[in-house]
């Protein structure tokens, strides 16, 4: 076989391959219906330990705040109705200091036990990137899985607003002085200031785009507009790589190839689906890449709607990051 299989697939399938293990979950309690998909799946499979945490991450105050608060309440009631523990929830602001991000993860990790599931579905990148880093570099857990749940649909309005300046994500600043020769962007729906940065940063860098395909429409068309708007800013032809939006492993492989096994320094821009962002995170940890982003400070309360179902179950994908002490994503 000419590729490395890194275990991923529907969460029940992965759980079935790890029989007998009990898992501690760190997830987010958000307005999105799908924020509970992983928890519901783990609960139904009776593989949850008692040490789980849901983070209620508060956006900046905005006109969406009343609606967002209402929807989070609904999710909270659902969580309790399905047997969730009241003291599982921790409230945090979106822009807490990096040290508080690390402490949150460390506190969870120390109580969690050997098997950890980090649900990145509704976690902002500002959170899940340092969480993954901390888990990979620090955690003694023997098994680590990241999960991502699919919604029924996304709002056709702006998904997020009031984004910040282009900056490295917490703990993903450049490791030292480096000349960057590669700029890799994962394509999404909203460019959020990216074209400006493409102009500013990538002048002499090769640019590669990870285009999420599948899925197809309706997101497909928004993705192509994103590409077109980027292309306008780029003096050079750009390389587009089609990568299934769910396939973290393939995205990781593309990053390895694009950077010649990590030897070429890259700036990564995770604007696409979360599984691609996860790939960038895991790659950057190994290769020392800089990961930059324009973090929004407000999310639309209908960012996503509903839960996609597969055979009657929430469609949740699981990505094994560590299995029996062995790290899966390496260079």
């Amino acid at each position: 076989m000419n590729h490395t299989f890194r275990p991923w697939g529907m969460l029940p399938w992965i759980l079935g391959k790890c029989p007998g293990l009990k898992w501690s979950l760190l997830a987010s309690l958000s307005p999105e219906d799908r924020c509970l998909s992983t928890w519901l799946t783990l609960k139904k499979s009776t593989v949850l330990t008692a040490n789980n945490k849901l983070l209620r991450i508060k956006d900046k105050e905005s006109r969406f705040t009343p609606q967002t608060t209402r929807k989070v309440e609904e999710r909270w009631k659902e969580f309790l109705a399905e047997g969730g523990e009241r003291d599982s929830v921790v409230e945090l602001d979106l822009f807490v200091a990096h040290a508080d991000l690390v402490k949150t993860l460390d506190d969870f990790d120390s109580a969690a036990g050997e098997n950890i599931v980090l649900d990145i579905t509704s976690l902002p990148k500002r959170y899940f990137f340092p969480f993954i880093r901390r888990l990979v570099e620090n955690s003694k857990a023997r098994n680590i899985i990241a999960t991502y749940a699919i919604p029924s649909s996304y709002t056709d309005q702006a998904l997020a607003e009031r984004f910040q300046e282009w900056r490295p994500l917490p703990m993903f600043a450049p490791a030292g002085e480096a000349t960057y020769t590669k700029f890799v962007v994962s394509i999404g729906f909203m460019s959020m200031g990216l074209p400006d940065q493409v102009r500013q940063r990538c002048g002499q860098m090769d640019v590669e785009l990870l285009f999420p395909f599948p899925p197809g429409p309706p997101g497909f068309h928004r993705n192509w507009e994103f590409v077109m708007d980027l292309q306008r800013e780029l003096p050079n032809k750009l390389a587009i790589k089609h990568v299934d939006a769910r396939d973290t492993s393939l995205a990781f492989d593309h990053l390895v190839i694009a950077t010649d096994g990590g030897h070429k320094r890259a700036v990564l821009a995770p604007y696409g689906p979360k599984p691609h962002s996860l790939a960038m995170c895991l790659f950057a940890i190994r290769a020392g890449s800089e990961v930059c982003y324009t973090q929004p400070s407000i999310y639309h309360p209908d960012y996503s709607i509903g839960r996609s179902l597969c055979d009657g179950q929430p469609e949740v994908y699981a990505y094994v990051v560590r299995l029996h002490g062995h790290d899966i994503y390496t260079l």
């Binding site: 990096h98 300046e165 900056r167 490791a175 460019s191 200031g193 102009r199 500013q200 002499q204 400070s297």
Partner: protein, 692 residues
């Protein structure tokens, strides 16, 4: 070799029909671009107006994005100077000012803002006192490292950099730097420039590693040796002179990029951001005889806080720093007699861009004028707008009007629709209840509105706007004057318009054989330009939310304001208020509410609005400020881009109401004297205005 002073005649053209000379808008702005591209495209036009930037004084360079700030600051980099040397093009700074050393720091990219993201101790209050000191220390080390890099590069090219005396050994200079007391011994042991740089790098990396959570603590040898802001930079500069690396009078220019982030980032606590700014202010306040700071910032962001860290005295303009306001420099003045320098600048940039793609020589203004042609006169536009529409539709003739008037207008409309529109307006002015002031229209040969010299001139744009709207037509812009007006002194907007024009031309002619395609240098048709300008305008509108930090709020506000002003102008059939494509607030009102002040200032800083102070015509003669949408947004909102007469006078309460309707959170001022605490939710959007 000097540039030719007089331009030769335009000669033969060849072109790659798919190459848009304006494709890359930011070539001269970004450090990521190739220096050789910078050299080719940089226009020295502004240099003579910005010579202060190269003089030995602290300079704050203000302007919106794309006004040319970064372009000018890039001239301070040695790589750019080197690139010039490789070409026949003279370095554009006058020789008497071109001897300097440049170094700098980019606030965002250096990682300096990570300081405060991780506690230094178990005591948060103590940490809050320490964070600014570490900020200062990091900045010092970073800048000194950049100085060393500049000096190293320059010393390798003595023919390019006469400022550097290459015979003086750099290692000796390095040793003298090491011995400076300001380091508190941290650099001890370094014996060469290479070792010095490595030692400095170690410290910077320690900061980085600490904030990446790679190490548990910042080592004691860092915490015990924190440096005072600016001091190591100044002392290192002294060493350069003492060791004869540079002449005593050679200035060191220190660039600080993205300064405005210090008070605009959610990632940084507001109070800490203020302290960090005050640290930088302290550096400026030292008025070092050798080291001078260059701060590129947006206009309003600079004035927020001028306090100096650790003191009670603020920075003083003119004494501690001088200002170059590029927006102000490039904007057309209200007094039309004042020379407007932007057109010369724009045409020079246009010429340089074209030269890269087309084999052409020619004077800069002729090239532009020939490509874009003249802008339309009202007579050119009115028939396009009106088309085959009837007078009743175009003029929105009121059936309640006297029959004689209706016939008069219809008849006049057949000859001259614009005159008919003006006649209607003239009739309505000082009329009552929307009826004409006289029962009978004037005799056919008499057009009394023409005798009032400025009356027609001030109203013709509004008249055209109303005609276009009633006939369901978009307004059109094309030609040299329109393009310059829409740019408002922003070279970025100007280039963007040109980019769209070229793009549209290529797009429309894609299927034509090359031999049949338009030669843009011989003239681009008005239809292409009109569509391109409309597209550019919409793109700039969308860009507000997509490409500007915090832009969603401003876009909603701009959208609301644009529609309000559009309605205001359209519904004013009497053409009484042709200036109501902008609004005015008294200075007192502007200052009374910090949230409003901040919001409007941000909108100006980001180029969505622009502001001009003016004096009211009212008896109180109070100072006021008027705001207009950036002209590039005019096509999108179907507003005239030119400004005449008085804008819409509003009160603070109205602006607050607008902000609320745009779903922007505004805290009301609490003092009784502000007269704003009793704003009611059903306040009309346009209260009684001062009728001038």
């Amino acid at each position: 070799m000097a540039q030719p002073a007089v331009s030769p005649v335009i000669k033969g053209i060849t072109m790659d029909s798919e190459l848009n000379p304006f494709h890359d808008l930011y070539v001269t702005e970004t450090s990521a671009s190739r220096p050789e591209d910078f050299v080719e495209l940089f226009s020295p036009f502004l240099i003579k107006n910005a010579l202060l930037l190269f003089e030995p004084t602290n300079v704050v360079l203000k302007g919106t994005q794309g006004c040319g700030k970064s372009m000018l600051l890039n001239l301070l980099k040695p790589e750019i100077r080197l690139a010039y040397h490789k070409t026949p093009i003279d370095f554009p700074i006058p020789e008497r000012l071109s001897t300097f050393i440049g170094a700098g720091i980019n606030i965002t990219r250096s990682g300096i803002l990570d300081i405060s993201q991780r506690p230094l101790s178990a005591d948060p209050e103590r940490d809050d006192r320490l964070f600014p000191l570490y900020f200062a220390d990091f900045l010092n080390y970073w800048v000194v490292r950049d100085m060393l890099d500049s000096v190293t590069l320059m010393s390798k090219h003595p023919d390019v950099f006469p400022a550097i005396n290459c015979e003086s050994p750099l290692d000796e200079f390095a040793r003298s730097v090491v011995q400076l007391e300001c380091w508190f011994g941290y650099l001890d042991g370094a014996r060469s420039l290479e070792e010095l740089r490595a030692r400095i790098n170690t410290r910077i990396m320690a900061y980085r590693n600490y904030h990446q959570f790679n190490i548990r603590n910042l080592s004691e040898d860092i915490s015990r040796t924190k440096t005072v802001i600016g001091e190591p930079i100044s002392r290192a500069a002294e060493c350069l002179a003492k060791c004869n690396i540079i002449k005593d009078a050679t200035p060191i220019f220190i660039r600080i990029d993205q300064h405005e982030i210090l008070c605009r980032s959610d990632d940084l606590r507001h109070d800490l951001g203020i302290q960090y700014r005050r640290i930088i202010n302290k550096a400026l306040s030292t008025r070092d005889p050798r080291v001078f700071y260059r701060i590129g910032t947006r206009s309003y962001a600079w004035g927020d806080d001028l306090a100096v860290f650790g003191t009670t005295s603020p920075l003083e303009w003119e004494r501690d720093y001088k200002v170059i306001d590029l927006d102000d420099l490039l904007r057309r003045k209200e007094d039309r007699r004042a020379k407007w320098i932007f057109p010369g600048f724009a045409m020079d940039v246009f010429y340089r861009r074209l030269k890269r793609v087309y084999d052409t020589q020619g004077s800069t203004d002729v090239l532009f004028r020939r490509a874009m042609g003249r802008s339309p006169a009202p007579a050119d536009l009115v028939l396009q707008y009106v088309g085959t529409s009837s007078a009743r539709r175009a003029l929105r003739i009121d059936d309640a009007w006297p029959r004689e008037w209706q016939q008069y207008l219809e008849s006049l409309f057949r000859d001259d629709p614009l005159e008919a529109k003006l006649a209607e307006a003239w009739a309505l002015q000082k009329g009552e209840d929307n009826r004409p002031r006289m029962e009978s229209p004037p005799p056919a040969e008499d057009r009394p509105w023409r005798s009032r010299r400025y009356w027609k001139k001030e109203r013709v744009r509004q008249a055209l706007m109303q005609l276009a709207a009633s006939c369901g037509q978009r307004q059109l812009w094309w030609g040299e004057d329109n393009i310059l007006s829409l740019s408002l002194g922003s070279i970025l907007v100007f280039l963007s318009i040109c980019q769209h024009i070229w793009d549209t031309l290529f797009r429309f002619e894609r299927e034509r054989p090359p031999a049949q395609r338009t030669n843009p240098l011989r003239g681009i048709g008005p239809e292409v330009q009109a569509i391109a300008i409309q597209t550019a305008s919409s793109r700039w509108y969308h860009k507000i939310a997509v490409e500007e930090a915090g832009g969603n709020d401003r876009q909603r506000f701009i959208n609301l304001l644009g529609q309000l002003l559009q309605a205001e102008l359209y519904n004013d059939k009497a053409l009484s208020y042709p200036g109501h494509n902008g609004f005015s607030l008294s200075s007192d009102d502007f200052l009374a509410c910090p949230d409003v002040r901040r919001f409007l200032s941000d909108a100006v800083d980001y180029g969505d609005l622009y502001a001009v102070t003016h004096t009211t015509k009212a008896r109180d003669r109070r100072q006021r400020i008027k705001w207009y949408l950036h002209p590039i947004l005019s096509p999108h909102f179907k507003l005239p881009e030119s400004h005449v007469k008085e804008p819409l006078y509003v009160r603070l309460a109205t602006v607050i109401e607008w902000l609320k309707r745009a779903e922007i959170t505004v805290k009301f001022p609490t003092k009784k004297s502000d007269k704003t605490s009793s704003v009611s939710d059903d306040l009309p959007l346009f209260p009684e205005t001062d009728k001038r």
